[in-house]
Structures are given as structure tokens and as C-alpha cells.
């Protein structure tokens, strides 16, 4: 038999390539442009911006990474991470009440929150298996609903049914928690303060890691994905690493504000571990099952993969990671709104992931990290830019709200638009 047909995509000219990648990444490109414009008009110094972004990036990344597994399993953006956040908050409240502080406090919180998050993740997964195709709206509503239960417990039952004698935490009536809880003197910075490095040092370590990774991949390729060695993109990322280190060396030689910035290394290491786990997980049998179920439940079922169980596992993992992520989030923040913090992080994390270029069906680590970076940049610069442009502090606040909720809408619409453009192109090629 003779079957020497090779399937190669048609050669594209450079202009076509650029156009294609612009269309493909149009959501991210749009928000990068927005960030640059916002930064220009905000009047912030670069050093201040970097400082704020690093602290927020470290705070939020873990939570955003917790969203990746459900996307892999085809369940869309997991708005139900709110439940994980609630678990973490509940655990923190009790640990604060018992007066366990610092790292032991964190340890105890993890021990308390993990089984709770597993239980709630299991229930969420059960619910999602009954509402296939509507996981996102289901998760959203589930978040609101469970907020009701959360409020019932902490606003009404605490102090009346659950004995809870603590003047700093409980309202003066003796029933219900105060609206804000301060972690100062407790678990605030418990993880962050373990090991801190100057930003320039940490940055150089990161740069070296980038170069090593690029060199390794350039020589070896990715055999599992049949990616050949000598890919040009690794030269590019290696060069970026070199440039980054050079820039940092330049900064160190001067007396910039940037030299004063520090990075909480343990938190960064935790985030890195999460990234490594996600990558590793994607290459396991279970990870492959996640992807198969995500791509086509019917085919997965016919090949003998229990899609319901797989989805359940995805939800449990995601909820547990979200609870840990929220713990990192809160210890960095140092204070939280008892009845609102958890509700917010659902939206913020989803928005961050979407800006990074992820879609409802495809989300990578790079999307999560880049998205968190862009989202917080926009979050920092937009109120100031709004104020400077329109001369009204109220407008600045409005911009912040717009950024948080508007981006979800804008990026969903842009993803849909992108799909349409790509679909049309595919049709015209046939």
C-alpha cells in the first residue's frame, strides 16, 4: 500500500504568522495595551508598581492556579472555589480564636481546612455531575448559596449556639463575628516572613532558571509532545532571561527604589511547587483521563473512563487547592472582611485567568501567571489613571469595580469573537 501523504500545515508568511498569533492572543494583547496606557496615565513610578505587583502576584497566584484542573477536566471556570475559600476562612477564624500564631497556626489551619474542603469539593462535584454543561453558572450560584450558610454560622450561630467567647472577634452583642478580622499578631505574614530575598536576587535566580530551562528544552525538545529540539522560541526565552539578569545587574549598580523591594521566597516556592505539580499531574494517567473527559465525555465513557468520578476528583483537588490558596492570600493581606473576602476571590481569580489568555476549555500555567500579573497591574493603575484623566476620585473607584467585573465580560466576549474569526478562517481554507 502506498500512503505517503504528509500532513503539514500550509506555510505562512511572517505577516500571516503575526496576524494569526495576534488573533489567537487577542484577549491578552488587548489587556497588555490597556495596562500600558493605564500605567502611563496613572503617574506611578515603575518601582512602586513592581513592588505592588509582586506582593499581589505572590498573594493571588496559588488561587488562580487552583482553577486549572477543572478546566482540564472540561468543567469550565470553577467559580465554586469560593467554597474552598470559605473553608480556609472558617479554619482561620477558629485558629485565631484559639490563639495559635505563626507557622504552627498555619499548620493547624491546613489540617482543619483540608478535610473540610475535600468534603465540600466532593459535594460540589456531585452537584456538577448532575448539572453537566452548566458547571459555571452552577458554581456561581452555589457560591452565593453557600455564602448564606456561611453567614448563618458566623453571624447568627456563633455566640448563640456555638460557644465562642472572644471580645476582639465577636460583635459587642455577643452573637456573630465582626465584619473584619485582623490577623496582625496572629498568622499575618506567617508564610511570607519565613524567608525573604531582595527582588534583584530573587529575580536573578529566576532569570538563571529561565535560561537553564530554555537551554535544556532547546537541546532536548519535548519528546513526549513530539516537539523537536532546536525550537526557536527557547532561544527567545533564553535571551529574555539574559536581558532580565542584565537589567537587574544594572539596577543593583544604582540606587533605585527597586533595590529595596523584597520577595517572600517560601510563598514563591509554594507557588512553584503548585506549578510543578500541575505539570507533573498533566503527564499522569489521571491527568490524561482529565483531559480525555474534558475533550469528549462520550468517547471517554466508551473507552471505559469513569467520567463522573474523574470530574469529582477534579473538583475535590480544585477546592482543596483553593482553600490553601486562600490561606496564602489572607496571611499576606493580614486582615479580611469576614463576610466578603471569599466571595470576591472567586471573581478575581477567574478574571485573572481569563485575561491571561485562558478560555473556558484551555488554561495553562502561563495563562494563570501572566493573567494574575496583568489583572493586578490593571487593578493598581486603573483607579489612579481614572482619577488623573477625569479628575475625580470617585471615578477612580468606579474603574476598580469595572476592572474586576468588566474584564470577565470583556474577555469572554473576546474569546467568543476570536473563536468566530478562527472558525471563519477554517471554513475559508477548506
Amino acid at each position: 500500500m502506498d500512503a505517503n501523504i504528509r500532513v503539514t500545515p500550509p506555510e505562512l508568511s511572517l505577516v500571516q504568522k503575526i496576524k494569526k498569533s495576534l488573533v489567537h492572543n487577542m484577549v491578552t494583547v488587548f489587556f497588555i495595551i490597556l495596562c500600558v496606557i493605564g500605567f502611563y496615565y496613572s503617574g506611578l513610578t515603575f518601582g512602586f508598581l513592581i513592588n505592588s505587583i509582586i506582593s499581589r502576584l505572590v498573594r493571588n497566584s496559588f488561587l488562580v492556579l487552583a482553577l486549572l484542573l477543572p478546566v482540564m477536566a472540561g468543567m469550565g471556570l470553577n467559580f465554586a472555589i469560593v467554597l474552598g475559600a470559605m473553608c480556609a476562612q472558617a479554619a482561620i477564624i477558629f485558629v485565631t480564636h484559639w490563639g495559635v500564631v505563626g507557622m504552627p497556626g498555619i499548620g493547624l489551619t491546613v489540617i482543619l481546612t483540608t478535610p473540610l474542603a475535600m468534603g465540600l469539593g466532593y459535594l460540589t462535584g456531585k452537584l456538577f455531575n448532575k448539572t453537566k454543561g452548566q458547571e459555571m453558572i452552577g458554581g456561581l450560584i452555589l457560591g452565593f448559596f453557600s455564602n448564606g450558610i456561611y453567614q448563618l454560622i458566623f453571624l447568627i450561630l456563633i455566640g448563640s449556639v456555638i460557644p465562642f467567647n472572644n471580645e476582639t472577634l465577636v460583635l459587642s452583642s455577643g452573637v456573630g463575628l465582626r465584619t473584619t478580622i485582623d490577623l496582625a499578631g496572629g498568622m499575618r505574614y506567617a508564610i511570607d516572613d519565613v524567608w525573604k530575598l531582595p527582588f534583584t536576587m530573587a529575580g536573578m535566580a529566576f532569570g538563571v532558571a529561565t535560561i537553564l530551562h530554555a537551554v535544556y528544552r532547546y537541546i532536548k525538545g519535548i519528546p513526549t509532545l513530539a516537539q523537536k529540539p532546536r525550537q526557536k522560541k527557547y532561544l527567545l526565552s533564553g535571551a529574555t532571561g539574559v536581558a532580565f539578569i542584565a537589567w537587574l545587574l544594572y539596577i543593583r549598580s544604582g540606587s533605585s527604589y527597586i533595590n529595596m523591594i523584597t520577595v517572600p521566597m517560601l510563598t514563591v516556592i509554594l507557588i512553584a511547587l503548585m506549578c510543578i505539580f500541575t505539570t507533573y499531574f498533566a503527564r499522569t494517567k489521571l491527568g490524561q483521563d482529565f483531559r480525555t473527559v474534558g475533550q469528549d465525555r462520550h468517547i471517554a465513557g466508551v473507552s471505559g473512563i469513569h467520567s463522573d468520578n474523574t470530574r469529582l476528583t477534579a473538583m475535590i483537588l480544585s477546592t482543596v487547592f483553593a482553600s490553601w490558596g486562600h490561606l496564602i492570600f489572607l496571611q499576606n493581606l493580614g486582615t479580611f472582611s469576614t463576610y466578603g473576602s471569599h466571595e470576591q476571590i472567586g471573581f478575581y481569580s477567574v478574571a485573572a485567568l481569563l485575561i491571561g489568555g485562558a478560555s473556558v476549555t484551555n488554561a495553562k500555567i502561563s495563562h494563570a501567571l501572566l493573567g494574575t500579573f496583568l489583572f493586578h497591574t490593571l487593578f493598581i493603575v486603573s483607579p489612579l489613571a481614572g482619577r488623573n484623566l477625569f479628575g475625580d476620585a470617585q471615578l477612580g473607584e468606579y474603574f476598580r469595580v469595572f476592572v474586576a467585573y468588566g474584564v470577565i465580560g470583556v474577555s469572554l466576549v473576546m474569546h467568543a469573537w476570536r473563536k468566530q474569526i478562527e472558525g471563519r478562517r477554517r471554513l475559508s481554507q477548506q
Binding site: P223, R291, I299, A300
Partner: protein, 540 residues
Amino acid sequence: MNTDHKNDHYVLDMRDIGKVYYGTRVLGGINLQLKPGEIHAVLGENGAGKSTLMNILFGMSVIHNTGGFEGQVVVDGEETFITSPVEAMHKGIGMVHQEFMLIPGYSITENIKLNREITNPGLLSRIAGKRLEILDFDAMNKDARKALDKLGLNIEEWVKVAGLPVSFMQFVEIARELDKENLKVLVFDEPTAVLTETDADRLLETMRMIASEGIAILFITHRLDEVKRVADRITVLRDGQHVATKNIEDTDVFEMANLMVGREIKMTTAEVDTSTDKKVKLEIKDLYVDMPGEVVKGISLDILDGEILGVGGLAGQGKIGLANGIMGLYESEGSVMLDGKEVILNNPEKALKQGLAFVSEDRRGIGLLLDTSIELNIVITAMQIQRQFLKQYGPLSQRENNRIRQHALKMIEELDIRCTGPQQITRRLSGGNQQKVCIARALTLNPKVLFVSEPTRGIDVGAKKLVLDTLVQLNKEHGMTIIMTSSELAELRMISHRIAIINEGKLEGILPPNASDVDFGLMMAGEYHKVKGREVKADE
């Protein structure tokens, strides 16, 4: 070819298989024996029971959720009770699916090894169990390569399936089955339906190669020449009954076609209209319709004034796409002229305004507003398109409930719609009566041409006749031009003046209703021109 196996060893033996769905018998008395290394073709029209038989073999849940089946399945001399496709796989029964069971976003290797991935223990798997073992892509690629090489497929195993030509997808499916070590029986479900002729030839060769290794092949198809070329034996099913099992040497294409279509029931056929002076009502030229699963690839057809034209063909060949395309429900291209005036395509509103009406095959999906009353269902299109039954007050309009009620009552009486009254909601009506409401709505538009798709699908025998009679009556009394699409050849032959057979998205030919079973069978199988060796003129 392994025509003669002297031993009586059967690798698969299905004995006296029957199946009843909700009180309707769809399969009965089927016997099917497969010897190792033979190619056994299963022939039958749509609805003959081929898919049900395969569903039973693979233990699909649709069988077990509806009360199981009758008879015995013996695999390799051992009676088995297969309750899931995975179990079938473990027993060594594989299938090359008609709609590919491939994940487009995966590489060929990943698809071949789907849920049979090779794994190595890793750090996490020691703690958390086997499912966290790491995939060994090297080993998987090697296995995939071996299977692909066996098929002579010179394609890199890591290429993504999305974007591969259809024939390659087919071969990837086959490679997946071959990669399963204990494979004994391989089912090909209409494998050549989507292939070009050269690809189909290659596939047939491959089938023979696989069979020569001792694997039994069950070949489900309706392409008779292919059967003649590769099969060792054939089994013909018709209306859920076992008609015949024959050695291929003892039969020919004509007999097979006859066995497939031949009806034992006597039936009336419409009179053949011999008058030739009729003018063309609707002229279809080079129509292409992109309806998923029913693609039309360039049909040219003239429909005469006052005739009933039947449109037949096997499922998935494009007969359904014809009406849907002209009515603007799916993207289409080409030219359609009604009374010499161009019909605007891709716009249902314009099509309706120009005097075309359509009774859809998807009655409950797009045909009816199920929770709305009968009367409103009947007039709604006329209200929307022709502003009938409306009183205008400047920019505002109001429904004329009186006239709607009168019209509905008239229709209910004329079409004999059995209901509690015009205000009953259509969800509660039986299938036949729902169909009549659809027809009533189309009639309210006073169409010049009426398209009716699958008018008798899912309704019982008595109601079928009523619906068909209604169509004949409309045609005779009002001279309405009707284009009826149906999967049931018998009913097309009952009422149509001419029958157009669609095959592979193209017009295979036009036959009079009294043409022989063999001719219809050959045309539906796409063999007519090959066998008869001549062009059929469209106005024959």
C-alpha cells in the same frame, strides 16, 4: 481469502437474538456466526436492525436500560453476557466506528492508546496509587508506530488528529483496534461511507490483510460492490428480521439488492403520470447545503407543477439537507428558481414569503411550540410572515382571536386533528396529530410549494396512512406541488409521482414509483450507474 473453514469453530456466535423497545419489536430471530479470519458482511436498509444488533454485541447501555435482549452471545465457545463496551473490548471485540471515536485535540498515539496508556511509576504514584503513574510516551509511541506500520500508514504518530484527512482518521481507528492484543472480532460500521474511492479500495485491502491474520471481520455496509469484492459470507437483515445468510459465491449484487429492499407486503403505488407538458415549478441548480450529517453536494433537480416528488436515499446521504437548505435553515449555495423567480437562500423569512412552506422532520424540536395551543401553532407563521390574522393600529397590531379560532376549527375538522379543542397545548397530542398541526400551519401560508420531511417518522401505522392521505388530497384537490422526503421507500412509492434518490449528497437518479425493487436498491447503494453502465436521464 479464507473462504473455507472446515472446522466448526466460531469466534462469535449470536444465537436467536431479539430485542423489544417499549413494546415494539425491532429485532427478532437473528443468527450470526463468525469464523476466525472471515469477512462477514451484514446488509440492510436503515432501520433494518443493524445498529441494534451491534449495540447488543457491545453491551451498550441503551440496550440494558430498556430491558436487555433475547438470545445468546457466545464468544470463542464461551457464553458471555456483555454489559459495557469496555467488557466487549476485554473479550476481544473491537469496532471501527462510523462517527469516529477519536479525540481531535489528541495526537495519533494518544488516540490509539486511549485509556490503555502505558505508565511508569513515579514519585506521586507511590503515595497516591496507580492513577498517578506517569505516562510513558516513548513506549506508547512505539506501540502506535507498530500498529500504523502494520497498516502501511506513513504518518508521524505524534501528529494531532484534528485536521487529518477523513481517511486517515479511519485508519487511526483501525490502528487503535489492532493495537489491542487480544483482538478477535473487528466490526467495521459503514467504514467506506465517508471515503473516496481510492481510499475505500485501500481500506478493503486492509480489511483483507487483517482477516488473513485470523481476525474475524464484521462488515456493516450498504455498498454492495464492496461486499462482493471482500466478503466471504453475507447476512441480510430487513425490518429487524433475519432474511438470509449466504456464501458470496452463491449470490450477486442484484440478489443482494433485492433481499435488502424487497417487501413481502403488497403495496399500492401511485399512478405514473405520463403527461409531459407540465411546466417546471421549482428549478434547483447546483445546490450545496452544509447541514451536518446531511451534506448536499451539488444537486440539480426540476420539480414539476402539481406533482408529488419523493426524495429518498439512505440516512446521512443528504436527502434531508435538500429541503432544509432551500428553506434557509442551513448554510447553502446555488440557485433555486420558483416560477422563474430566484429564491433567496439562507433566509427562512424570505423563503416563506416567496411561497415555500416546510414541515420539518424535527417535529418536536423546531416544528412546534410544544407548550402553546394548537390554534396559535397553526397561525403563528402566517401571522409573522404574511401579517394574516392581525389588525393594524398604526405601528401596533393585535391578534384577531375570532378569526384565528375559526381558522383553527376549520383546519382541525379538515385534517381530522384529534384533540380536546383548539386551545389544547400541542405537547399533549399524539405524534400523528402533532404532524397534522405542522401540516395545518404550512397550509395556512397557502404555499406554492410544500416541503414535507419524514412526515411519518415516529407515528403509528394508522396515523401514517392518514398523514399520507392528507398529502395526496392536498395535491389532488388544490393542485399543490409537494416535495416529500422520507427514509421509507414504501411510503414514497405509495404517493409520489416521481422519486429522486440522493446518494452521497448528489442526485443518483429519478425513478418512477413502479420501478423494480432491484433498481431502487441499486440506486440507494450508489451502484445503479456502475451496474447498468448508463446515465439515467433526469426526466426519465
